[in-house]
């Protein structure tokens, strides 16, 4: 194990460290975050934006989005939107087709007619 495993750990650490710049500058609080904080809508337990991004990317691919388009679609979502999608992409309303409203009216009229609540279809 020793050398190879050690090397792997060392490389992992090096990669992780890439994320944090040496000369530590504090992070600014973006307006979105300030807004969430001020309205107390920030859910402190939610997944990190990076994790949400990965999940959305995976789900989009699984739901048949052209892999070439996935990255661009993910890139333009805000952290809040990414979290919403990561949690609910399979249950959110997906607007697709119009249902003929007139159809519903007649179905209901027929049901009511058959049940005997109304009598508007004259039997002549």
């Amino acid at each position: 194990m020793s050398f190879r495993k050690g090397l792997v750990y060392a490389l992992c650490l090096a990669v992780l460290n890439l994320g944090s710049p040496m000369m530590a500058h504090a992070e600014l609080v973006g307006t979105m975050q300030a807004l969430e904080a001020s309205t107390r809508t920030q859910d402190l337990a939610t997944v990190s934006a990076a994790l949400a991004r990965d999940q959305v990317r995976e789900q989009m691919t699984a739901l048949g989005v052209d892999p070439a388009a996935v990255e661009a679609r993910v890139a333009r979502l805000t952290d809040t939107e990414l979290r919403t999608l990561a949690e609910r992409m399979d249950q959110m309303p997906a607007g697709g087709d119009a249902l003929a409203v007139i159809g519903i009216v007649f179905v209901v009229l027929i049901i009511l007619e058959v049940v005997g609540v109304i009598d508007i279809f004259k039997k002549t």
């Binding site: 500058h25 609080v29 307006t31 001020s38 739901l63 805000t78």
Partner: protein, 337 residues
Amino acid sequence: MRRVPRGGRRFPAVAATLLALLLAGCAGQSRLVDTTGPAGLPPKVELTATPFHPQSDQQCGPAALATVLGAAGRDVLPASLSQEIFLPGRQGTLQPEIVAAIRARGLLPYELEGDLTTLFAEVAAGRPVLVLQRQGFGPWPAWHYAVVVGYDATRDVVTLRSGTRERLQLRAAVFDATWARADRWAIVALAPGTLPARTDLTRYLRAAAGLEATRQYDEARAAYAAAVAQWPYEPLPRLGGANVEAALGHWREAEHGYAEVLRLAPGLAAAINNRAEALSRLGCRTLALRVLDDGAARLAPDEPLRVALSRTLAAIEASPALPAGSEPALCAQLQVR
């Protein structure tokens, strides 16, 4: 040509009542249009110049989006939008991707408060409104995007570009019932700098912050400036403006903005944090630490941004201190207010 609202000539009253019962039954009390005309609005409006894109199979999202984008001066065909927003596995389009697509074109995606008067106010202001409706019933829901392009309070109808219908007229009660079942979701595409007809600060800022978060700084700046003009005593629009300057590395302007915010709201954690960071970037370490120290006493007990503030404090404390008196001359002018 005059179209008869769906429901037909023969039993209009019966059909409308039943439909309203059927739909409203699931939605609770639906709000009807005041037949004397929505408050302060013209009794009837129709945006006849709105483009029409008949939808193909399952493509009401791209079609409706192309309609509002076209009306906002961004001509695009539904087929090309399909690549951006259609989700094949769901056979439809999700709301956040519509929001993102509007924003990606440099427009402000403003989600309206869900009531007919607000909706009609946008239409009266010349902007078609993209809406989500839930049709179908029981185990067969059908979610549908359409665009409201007009209303007529005298006849109690709403006019939509919907599916393959260029001018679908629905009774207001029927439209409202289908809309209510989709949580009355409605969105307009605003040119940055334009305010919606009926403004709601939080909704507006959320949309503007989306422009900032996706690095469309010119558009975000224009949106925040309009909000500052509208709500001069609210701190968050000014915070947004300062954040845009900070993101562009304009630390001097940003610091000035944060200082103004703190004059309006001395305990606003985001402004305390960001002002300290801006001061630190300007080389004014001493003043930055004083701002943090001063601000810490003013925070609300349940302030969710405490962690961010302590991280900022640690980062500034860790930065090398200059010998007393050798900080930039600018720092003397930027007193803690």
